[in-house]
């Protein structure tokens, strides 16, 4: 990890921590801020990836995957915005789904790292399992919005800490 990537990781981790605390402190309104931030970051990443595709990746073998990635990110970003008008529980379930998905990606990356004999596979797999487990546990509290939001907030804090620790490893 380069110095710039480390700094970026720490900043993203700190922002995640701030929002996690916001959610925990004010469960009723905090989650909407998180959803808004998520949709904005997805839309921004989507456009950035789209630009990368049209300027560079369209000439690359397998470059179409970059275009698909960009479209999916944009789609998810706009979809997240549209969920703001639905009952809170749907938005929270959606956030949880996205959160669980990042855990699954971590596990898959960890397993791939193990197959490639990269030494960091344990760390990746473990953090992925924790994220998925947290998301699953949260499902049991789906009737209590406050508990749901707090557990989600704890999950965010965990992810933020993992990101910050990774930057210093």
């Amino acid at each position: 990890m380069t110095l710039f990537q480390r700094i970026r990781s720490v900043i993203i981790g700190l922002v995640m921590l701030i929002f996690a605390f916001l959610i925990v402190i004010d469960p009723k309104e905090g989650y909407q801020t998180v959803a808004a931030l998520l949709s904005l970051s997805l839309i921004f990443s989507g456009f950035k990836t789209l630009w990368y595709y049209f300027t560079l990746a369209r000439h690359m073998i397998g470059g179409l995957a970059v275009l698909i990635r960009a479209v999916i990110m944009l789609d998810l970003g706009f979809f997240t915005i549209s969920l703001q008008h639905l009952p809170r529980v749907y938005l929270l379930l959606y956030l949880l789904l996205i959160y669980a998905f990042t855990g699954v990606v971590d596990i898959l990356n960890g397993l791939e790292a193990r197959r490639m004999e990269a030494p960091n596979w344990k760390f990746k797999t473990f953090s992925g399992i924790i994220i998925v487990s947290l998301a699953l546990v949260t499902l049991f509290f789906v009737r209590s919005l406050t508990v749901l939001v707090v557990v989600y907030g704890i999950g965010l804090i965990y992810s933020a800490l993992v990101r910050i620790i990774s930057a210093f490893r």
């Binding site: 990746a57 790292a113 004999e117």
Partner: protein
Amino acid sequence: MDLVTVKVGKMQIDFHYYATYAAAIIAGYSHEESMEICYSAQFVDVCSRTLLSKLKAPGNAATTQLQLELADARTDIIGLQDITRIWSSFHFLPYDLHAKRDKHCRRTYLDKYRLICNSNGPLVADTVNLAKNNSLQAVGIAMHVLADTWAHKYFAGTPSLVINNVNYYFYEWVVDGDNSLRRKVVTRHNPTAADDIVRGIYTASMSSNDENSIMNLGHGRAGHLPDYSFIRYEYMPAWGDYNNIIKDNPSDYWHAFCQMVYALRYLRGEYDTFELDTYDFDVVSRWEDEIKAILIKRQLDSSEDWKQFGEALSGSSISDFDENTWQKQYMNAAKADKDATFLGKFFKAAIVQKSMVSNRIFESGNSLAGVSVNFKNNGLSFVRNRIGRAR
């Protein structure tokens, strides 16, 4: 990323040191001269900023970057330009700085595409001519650069996913008796594991979707395969419009050796001009069987074979490469005398080579190697100060 291997790619000591020695002897250089040439050729893979800092030598004379330096290298615009200056000047000499693609191709892509390395480009002639009437250290550097244009062809000396990526279509052609078998190349990312040429498992850099990741520098994604003289491999370069390439290293290394002999004879004054795509096949033909036997032998390091061949040629003993050999001489020399030491001459030749290549890239309208000045117009000290300040 801290735990992954950063494999950028360097032709190995067997060719840069021992084979270069043999080429120099065949070209007519004495044993002592050949030792200086091959030492300089190999020192290109050693001369990092870390070493230069230890020697209190100019940082812009760096000809390589250590794995740890790369792992910590910034990939912002300044960092990328620094990486590109080093790797394009010494290890991935661009073939055609004015190469064209379809009319809709954007400049951002073209700049990267034009840095793809290949043999017999105009910059090879510029590199060899730069060493003409220059120190033996300059000759050694030129031989390193020339040899790498054969080993590292089709990869670029700048971090780029869209140019340097290698995907699942990656095979090795293995000779089995009279047959050739195509075997899938298995890559792994364990930095401590040696390549397994029996089972075809090779260490390569990890896949990274980040366009400018260090993982995508040079032939990192293809591991050390380009550095093995025995290997024939088939793959689809990321820039190649889905056309597969069969890289025939034994043939390429044979051409590299014969072109080195030709270039060295030109540098000794046996030819008036250096022509591209010209090889001293006739001169080397006497040893063709021996050389080709070394080139096709499946082994990770053919130093011992090249050493024996070189010693048989000259009748003298070739000492093993030791990067410390000339360091004391440089460090103990007075400031005014440093440029006259072995390493002082090497550093000067390295700065001139880097300046020449960076300047050619810059003058082609490509900013990937940064802003550059022509040392011929401005003087070496100006280049030295200017680049030195930038770092």
